[in-house]
Structure formats: structure tokens, C-alpha cells
């Protein structure tokens, strides 16, 4: 059974997503650059990319989502997957490559993404 801390973190994560998960991202599995599954639309929290680059509309973006949503879409995220982001104030829309995946104990997943094509 999850610890009290993990349960509390899961509640916080669920609340975070319902409050700030304003963005729908399109997630696609890739294996060695080749499409390996259909796109899945997932709710995500856009996290300020200014922390990464010091300027807007750069090459990097960070998105936070729930592991549960990935599991329901039958996706095990891996480096090299593609995330399609829409144009936003801090993000230039387009295809981004998953560079890092971080998971917290409460079922939250943080994706660090890099734009590798125009």
C-alpha cells in the first residue's frame, strides 16, 4: 500500500492537473525514430520554459502529466517519443522530442522536451 506521503502527493497531483492542466498534448511513441503507435491526446500542465532557456519560444519545453493517463492510453513513455505542442505564449508549436522523463511518487510525470525540427 502506498505510504501516507505518496497518497497525499497523488491527491495533490490530481488537484494540480484539474486546476492547471489546461493543455492537450498529442503523444506519439517512436522506436528509433519510427512511429510505433497511434497518437494519444493527454491533458498536461505547461511548465514555464523560461527556467530552461532564459528566453521564450526556444528549443525546450517542459510538460507535466499524470502517469495514470499514460497507462490508460497504453503508453510507456521513452526518450525519443514525439510530443506535439500547440502554439502558446511561451512555446512555439510543433513536434518535440522527449529528452528526459521524471516520475514522482504520487504518479506525476515530468517530460523535458526538445524541438529538433522546424
Amino acid at each position: 500500500m502506498d505510504s501516507f506521503f505518496e497518497q497525499q502527493l497523488a491527491v495533490l497531483n490530481a488537484q494540480m492537473l484539474s486546476s492547471f492542466g489546461t493543455e492537450t498534448i498529442s503523444y506519439q511513441r517512436r522506436i528509433a525514430g519510427t512511429e510505433a503507435g497511434g497518437d494519444a491526446d493527454l491533458q498536461a500542465v505547461p511548465i514555464d520554459p523560461l527556467r530552461l532557456e532564459g528566453f521564450t519560444n526556444g528549443n525546450f519545453a517542459v510538460r507535466w502529466l499524470q502517469k495514470q493517463d499514460l497507462e490508460e492510453a497504453n503508453i510507456t513513455p521513452a526518450k525519443g517519443d514525439i510530443v506535439r505542442l500547440a502554439d502558446g505564449t511561451f512555446t512555439r508549436g510543433g513536434n518535440y522530442t522527449v529528452m528526459q522523463i521524471q516520475e514522482d511518487l504520487g504518479g506525476g510525470v515530468r517530460l523535458v522536451l526538445e524541438r529538433r525540427s522546424t
Binding site: G54, F60, M99, Q100, V112, E114, S117
Partner: protein, 161 residues
């Protein structure tokens, strides 16, 4: 003879690269000749550094930058050697754009391949041209980032006196 300002050579390298038809019409660059960009080291306020510049480099562009200048020997004579780099971030494979640059015919200044081109009359054709790929762990936020750089040297003609 006086040393040539390396930033003038940077501009001359770019003018030559922009005159390679196969390169500027290639899908590897996002906007043709405009995608060949200069980075000039500048200590004024408001400027950053080459690492930041390359990290933030747009996909589908190449950045030409001056790496440093030193003295050296050419034909048993003291000479000035300028080291340059080209950071590659093509829409596709680095090997393709490296080949296009090295073997590309530059209409400016004289219609020869870049590897044989004197970008100004003051310097010899590029020497020691190499392309190196590397993956570097930048920081927790960036993770591992892949870089591809061409490096080469331009030796000034004449004796440094």
C-alpha cells in the same frame, strides 16, 4: 602585414556558404541563406555567450563562429592561424550537411568547392577541416544534448611582421 579581423573572416565564410546553391536550396536548412548565422563574441551588455547561443540555436540552421586565433607555421614560415567552428543543427542528418558544406561549390568568391575556397584574398583555403559529434550532459533541466560541429583553420597568407 596586418592581421585580418576574425569577424571579417566570419562574414566572408558566411558569404561563401550562402553561395552554395545545393546548401541553400536544401531542406536541411529552414530558410535557405538566412539560416546561415554568425555568432560574434561580444562583451557588451545584452549579449550572452556561444554556449547559450548554440543551445538556443534554431532547428534548421547553422552557426558560424570564431573559436580563436594563434600563431603557427605554414611552409616553414610564421603565420597567423584563425580557428573557426560551424555548429550544425540541420532538419535531418549532420553527415549530409557536412558533406554539402565541404564539397559544396561556392559561387562567392570564385566558384570552387568550400574546402578549396579562399574566402578572402588574405587567407588560404580551410585546413584541418573536421566534423565532430558529441552528446553532453548540460544540466538537470536540459539533460543530454547532442551537438555536431565542423572545425577548420584559416591561415593568413604572407609573413606575420
Amino acid at each position: 602585414m596586418a592581421m585580418t579581423d576574425p569577424d571579417i573572416l566570419t562574414d566572408a565564410i558566411i558569404a561563401s556558404l550562402q553561395s552554395i546553391d545545393a546548401l541553400v536550396t536544401s531542406d536541411l536548412l529552414r530558410a535557405g541563406a538566412q539560416s546561415i548565422i554568425a555568432y560574434k563574441t561580444n562583451m557588451e551588455e545584452g549579449f550572452v555567450n556561444i554556449e547559450d547561443f548554440v543551445l538556443q540555436q534554431d532547428a534548421g540552421t547553422i552557426v558560424v563562429f570564431w573559436r580563436g586565433t594563434r600563431t603557427g607555421i605554414f611552409d616553414k614560415k610564421d603565420t597567423i592561424k584563425h580557428d573557426f567552428g560551424i555548429s550544425l543543427k540541420p532538419n535531418g542528418r549532420a553527415s549530409q550537411i557536412f558533406t554539402m558544406i565541404r564539397e559544396g561549390v561556392c559561387a562567392v568568391p570564385e566558384g570552387r568547392k568550400f574546402k578549396l575556397t579562399q574566402v578572402t584574398t588574405d587567407v588560404r583555403p580551410p585546413e584541418d577541416m573536421a566534423c565532430t559529434n558529441r552528446s553532453v550532459y548540460i544540466a538537470g533541466n536540459f539533460g543530454v544534448r547532442e551537438f555536431s560541429d565542423i572545425t577548420f583553420t584559416l591561415t593568413e597568407r604572407g609573413i606575420d611582421n
